[in-house]
């Protein structure tokens, strides 16, 4: 089975880091995984995204696929850009603090969660990315909270380890967010 994820948002929202945590989690779960960032002449504040491809039986071959199973959009621009790329029956997980709740496609699942607001409530708006990762983990059912915590520990560098407890908290808030998914 192969599944792919795109995490997208403003530069500075921690999009690449969230992707790296997810990719590490799959690795720690003994799955094959590839992480690939959008890069180029991007500016700070512009949109940025990364793609994570997970395969539980064979090597990941292609990246930069034409569609995705799961998309996490942390801002409106990313929502607009990636909505058409979701596979039929796939998921759009959108940051409703910054994205309008409009469902133009009827062949996919939506989850609007105010992740920025939740992060703010937690005391650090920069937890938006990890919080959304918690939501994604719950919805996809492809990675456990334990493994994600382990992955966070792997990714956060030694001089930032003081932020680990807050990140884990954010992960849990996301994971425990009341989903009741809305099937359009």
């Amino acid at each position: 089975m192969e599944k792919n994820f795109i995490i997208a948002g403003f530069g500075g929202q921690g999009v690449l880091l969230a992707g790296e945590v997810l990719a590490n989690a799959f690795m720690l779960d003994n799955k094959n995984v590839t992480w690939y960032p959008s890069y180029g002449a991007e500016m700070r504040g512009g949109t940025v995204n990364c793609e994570i491809v997970m395969n539980d039986s064979e090597d990941v071959s292609s990246v930069n696929k034409s569609d995705a199973d799961f998309i996490v959009a942390l801002n409106q621009a990313s929502f607009d850009r990636f909505l058409p790329k979701i596979k039929k029956g796939g998921w759009m997980i959108a940051n409703s603090t910054l994205v309008k709740e409009i469902k133009t496609r009827t062949d996919i699942n939506y989850l609007f969660a105010p992740v920025t607001k939740l992060a703010d409530k937690l005391g650090n708006i920069r937890m938006t990315n990890i919080l959304s990762l918690g939501v994604l983990a719950k919805i996809s059912g492809l990675v456990s909270l334990d493994v994600l915590e382990h992955a966070l520990d792997t990714v956060i560098p030694p001089h930032r380890k003081n932020l680990l407890p807050l990140n884990i908290k954010a992960l849990k808030i996301g994971y425990e967010y009341d989903l009741s998914p809305v099937n359009a």
Binding site: E20, Y36, G40, A41, T154
Partner: protein
């Protein structure tokens, strides 16, 4: 990211660029000389910290010209030395590569391709297949060229590059692209898997207890140069015989064989699998060494396959080597993207369907 240095067999998620740099450290690279250029700057950044930490040689060179010539100098003493760069800057290194080939020095060059010609852009590209396999320097010389397609191969082929460079006393290039350089995958570094090559018979160490050694390319006598070039090319033949490496899947019964190296080979492989699901007899051959090129194997397969398709991120460069190998037996087509991400799986599948109907 300098924390990723390890010799354990634990898997680590890392970028292709870091994988290459860390593998070079484990391979025992004694000297790194470099000048920054996207999309490979992580290599120099990693090396700057790690080489100093390990008390090995590191210089932020004033230019790519200087960097590659510093490598040439270090290699003349038998040291394991390397530089890394990209396309338009590798262009600046061609003169030194020609000298190093003539001097038979074990230079290791990492070339992470970006878009060209000229300054181009920093997107993935394979526009320097010709630069690596034909070369832009003067005279009849060859570089050994290795093409990774996964981050793990970035590690494995970096080890191999140091080994082959020293084994054959030949400049060796690791030809990656921006996509591989920036991509993260789990890798295992392990130990450097090759034996150390004894350089004591030729390296410059000071003429103590023996006559002086000269490493030179200046050849005022035409006769001597004829003899030298014949010997050099006999070495290339031997490299071809011993070191040609490729991956081959589902080629035995294939009507269409995709040939692709580096990151587009990954999409080609996915496309091949899709086609098999559709009942199309498609196989793939992925050259891992670009020089030596698996010409002999392609030539054999041209007896059974009906068509070859080269999948590249350029205007069609490797296709020329495929055509030479196929030698007119069957058609050779091209699926390409001029620059940027490789042709998508869907695009390749669609084209294969079209080609198989013809």
């Amino acid at each position: 990211m300098t924390e990723c240095l390890t010799k354990t067999n634990k898997k680590i998620l890392t970028k292709g660029n870091y994988a290459i740099a860390n593998a070079a450290i484990i391979a025992g690279c004694e000297c790194y000389f470099g000048y920054p250029i996207t999309p490979q700057s992580e290599i120099g950044e990693f090396m700057s910290g790690k080489m100093q930490e390990l008390k090995r040689a590191y210089v932020s060179a004033e230019s790519e010209l200087a960097a590659i010539n510093m490598v040439l100098g270090a290699c003349s003493t038998g040291a394991k030395a390397m530089t890394s760069s990209s396309s338009c800057a590798v262009a600046l290194m061609q003169e030194a590569l020609s000298y190093a080939a003539s001097d038979e020095l074990p230079i290791v060059l990492v070339s992470v391709m970006r878009g060209g010609p000229g300054l181009g852009n920093i997107y993935p590209s394979q526009g320097d297949y010709n630069q690596a396999t034909i070369g832009g320097g003067d005279g009849d010389y060859k570089l050994i060229a290795l093409a990774p397609a996964t981050v793990q191969e970035c590690v494995d082929l970096t080890y191999k590059a140091f080994y082959l460079a020293h084994k054959y006393k030949n400049p060796t290039v690791i030809l990656a692209d921006g996509l591989l350089g920036q991509m993260m995958e789990p890798v295992e570094f392990g130990e450097y898997p090759y034996p150390e090559v004894d350089n004591s018979g030729w390296a410059l160490t000071g003429a103590k207890g023996r006559s002086a050694r000269v490493i030179r390319s200046y050849a005022p006598s035409a006769d001597n140069q004829c003899e030298f070039l014949n010997r050099l090319h006999a070495k290339y033949k031997m490299i071809e015989h011993n070191e040609t490496q490729w991956e081959e899947i589902n080629t035995e019964d294939a009507d269409i064989i995709l040939v692709s190296f580096g990151s587009p080979a990954r999409n080609a492989k996915s496309a091949m699998k899709e086609c098999r699901k559709l009942g199309l007899k498609v196989g793939i051959l992925r050259p891992i060494t670009l020089f030596p090129f698996p010409s002999k194997r392609i030539s054999e397969l041209a007896n059974t396959a009906k068509k070859f398709i080269s999948v590249e991120i350029n205007m069609g460069q490797m296709i020329r080597d495929i055509k030479l190998a196929v030698n007119g037996k069957v058609p050779v087509e091209l699926i390409n993207r001029p620059v940027g991400n490789p042709p998508s799986v869907d695009e390749i599948v669609e084209r294969i369907i079209k080609e198989s109907e013809e």
